[in-house]
């Protein structure tokens, strides 16, 4: 008599493969910008689902564009300008440490604007209780 069991071996293989893919991909997605910055936590958020140009600003005043250090605001501006010439509508994300001074962030925002950025967002982390 033919055994009528469902063959779940392929299902197990697919599920485990998915787990493996997620385990490999998620750190890459999360740490695409590996500069350690403690972001401000907010309740509201507009999630970014696009390639962006990330400007990180650490608590010790280090400035990085896509994890490559830049040392002055004019240098930041020219770096952004080169990128924005390729795509002026690229989203410029400011990843500033929550402990840094807002006036410094304003300087970065102003530099981004002078470089021609049309869309600017401040990176945040979703607020979690506890």
């Amino acid at each position: 008599m033919k055994n009528a069991n469902i063959d779940i071996l392929p299902l197990a293989a697919v599920a485990l493969t998915l787990v493996l893919i997620m385990m490999v991909v998620s750190p890459l997605v999360v740490t695409r910008n590996s500069t350690p910055v403690i972001l401000p936590e907010t309740h509201t958020s507009e999630r970014k689902v696009e390639n962006d140009l990330t400007v990180s600003y650490t608590v010790d005043g280090q400035l990085l564009v896509d994890d490559k250090p830049v040392f002055t605001l004019p240098e930041l501006e020219s770096t952004l300008q080169v990128q924005l010439l390729r795509d002026p509508y690229v989203l410029v994300v400011i990843r500033a440490d929550k402990e840094c001074l807002h006036s410094h962030v304003l300087d970065i925002l102003a530099a981004a604007r002078h470089a021609g950025a049309l869309r600017i967002a401040c990176a945040t982390k979703k607020y979690r209780e506890g």
Partner: protein, 137 residues
């Protein structure tokens, strides 16, 4: 009495529990992933002039100023953070552009500004602008 023949034990892997665990892991990842993602709040850069349909002079304004000593001024009147969360939705309901402009003193910490921007978003602000503006003495 005829005895039933004992079925030989099959040496098969029991995969059902493994599949359960794997699918739970997949679901866990799917649920947890958005929490790990960085999100963001769109802002207008300092001094950005925007084309607007209406006359900005007649629209209800929501200008917030944060001072170095921790005070919050909403349209030049001092408010607490609780009052701000209460007043801002009412103000924005009457505003056509629903724009909130935030300006600060020089020594204000970024986290404090983001908390106010977050509050403005929760209150229904459509546009957030950061201004490098000094308060009139």
């Amino acid at each position: 009495m005829r005895r039933h023949p004992v079925e030989p034990r099959r040496d098969e892997l029991i995969l059902t529990s493994l599949v359960d665990i794997a699918l739970c892991l997949v679901l866990g990842f799917l649920v947890a992933m958005p929490l790990f993602f960085e999100t963001g709040i769109f802002v207008s850069a300092p001094g950005v002039a925007r084309a607007s349909g209406g006359d900005p002079g007649t629209d209800v304004k929501a200008n917030i100023f944060l001072t170095d000593d921790g005070r919050i001024l909403l349209n030049e009147s001092e408010v607490s953070i609780e009052q701000l969360s209460d007043l801002l939705p009412k103000l924005l309901d009457r505003s056509r552009e629903r724009r909130v402009v935030v300006a600060t003193d020089d020594q204000v910490v970024y986290d404090r500004v983001m908390k106010v921007l977050d509050l403005a978003k929760q209150s229904g602000a459509a546009d957030l602008a950061l201004l490098r503006k000094r308060r009139a003495p």
